[in-house]
Symmetry: C2
Subunit: 196 residues, 2 copies
């Protein structure tokens, strides 16, 4: 085997769920693809690794100070969706059901693993709710024990404010992950959110 | 969605068999992976795109004049395996069963698509068989109509030489089940049965 090809296959094997055969197919795709397509790929990888940082307001990924959603003047700034990860945010955006703004926690509380409110973007959330004209906080956390506990904690911390705290409906299969939910299910989950 | 991430996802979606969700997972893997791992990946991609060319003897992929196999003095130079593509060559190498050398045709003859002997590396094969000390030519082409036709063509062209022309066995895959084998394969398996 040509050694450069072997090195490429080894790099591609580190991708999630990719074994020897898939990595080999990808390597040959790269080998045979147009030079310009691969240049685009390499450029995209380098920009993502070099320029992506967290939005200074909602902590979503962005290559500017504020993310696309926070910069978009058409978004409803009275509705704030609290979410675990940028990956979950992309899934919600895909559903097209939610027109408000976001707050990305980057995790959920897991006291047994030493992850308290200070380890995720929870204090920043509480500050935002008090400072921004937010009427409703929609919790769109994964339906895990930690997600539920984090939801309860947020509800508790916001009980002295006038904001409505709601949670997306259990349209999401329990034990499932937002990342893999189909847009329709996610859309229903937003539509049928319930006050907690 | 952060636009650089979107661009990366779009590039990754061009990989064979990769859709939106898999591309998104790969993009987040790239985003979260160690900088050094991604540097290795990008370097491997660039070397493959820039340096890989065809071995001047067997037409396998290499970054030097001769490929690894052709450079390896331990290979049996009297046995030449004729193969369709570098991908097939890698599969044969993985089996560890063949210790001879190769000739990569880069396709098979398909007269209806305008692919004659001159469009693949067939003339180069005939020259090698006459010039190199080859005793046996083993055809390891895919069992398609075109593969069969190409095999017959090669056999015909080599009939005035003393080399033995053989073909790898067709049959039931090891670990496979007769129940699921297609009739053609089963027919071949019976036709080419071996005495035990």
């Amino acid at each position: 085997m040509a050694s450069p090809l072997e090195k490429l296959i080894n790099s591609l094997k580190k991708f999630p769920g990719v074994g020897e055969k898939t990595a080999t197919r990808y390597a040959f795709f790269i080998l045979n693809a147009d030079r310009s397509e691969i240049d685009d790929l390499v450029k995209a990888i380098e920009i993502v690794k070099r320029d992506l940082r967290l939005c200074s307001r909602c902590f979503h990924l962005t290559d500017e100070d504020l993310c696309n959603v926070c910069r978009d003047s058409r978004r409803d700034r009275s509705r704030l969706c609290v979410i675990e990860s940028p990956l979950d945010l992309l899934a919600v955006e895909k559903s097209g059901q939610f027109k408000g703004i976001y707050h990305v926690l980057h995790g959920v509380m897991a006291p047994l693993d030493g992850i308290g409110p200070g380890e995720i973007r929870l204090n920043e959330l509480l500050v935002r709710v008090r400072e921004e004209p937010i009427a409703e906080v929609i919790l769109a956390l994964n339906p895990t024990v930690e997600g539920e506990a984090t939801a309860s904690f947020i509800k508790e911390r916001l009980k002295d404010t006038k904001v409505i705290v709601s949670r997306i409906a259990y349209g999401i299969p329990v034990g499932g992950s937002l990342e893999y939910a189909d847009p329709l299910t996610l859309g229903r989950a937003f539509e049928h959110r319930t006050k907690i």
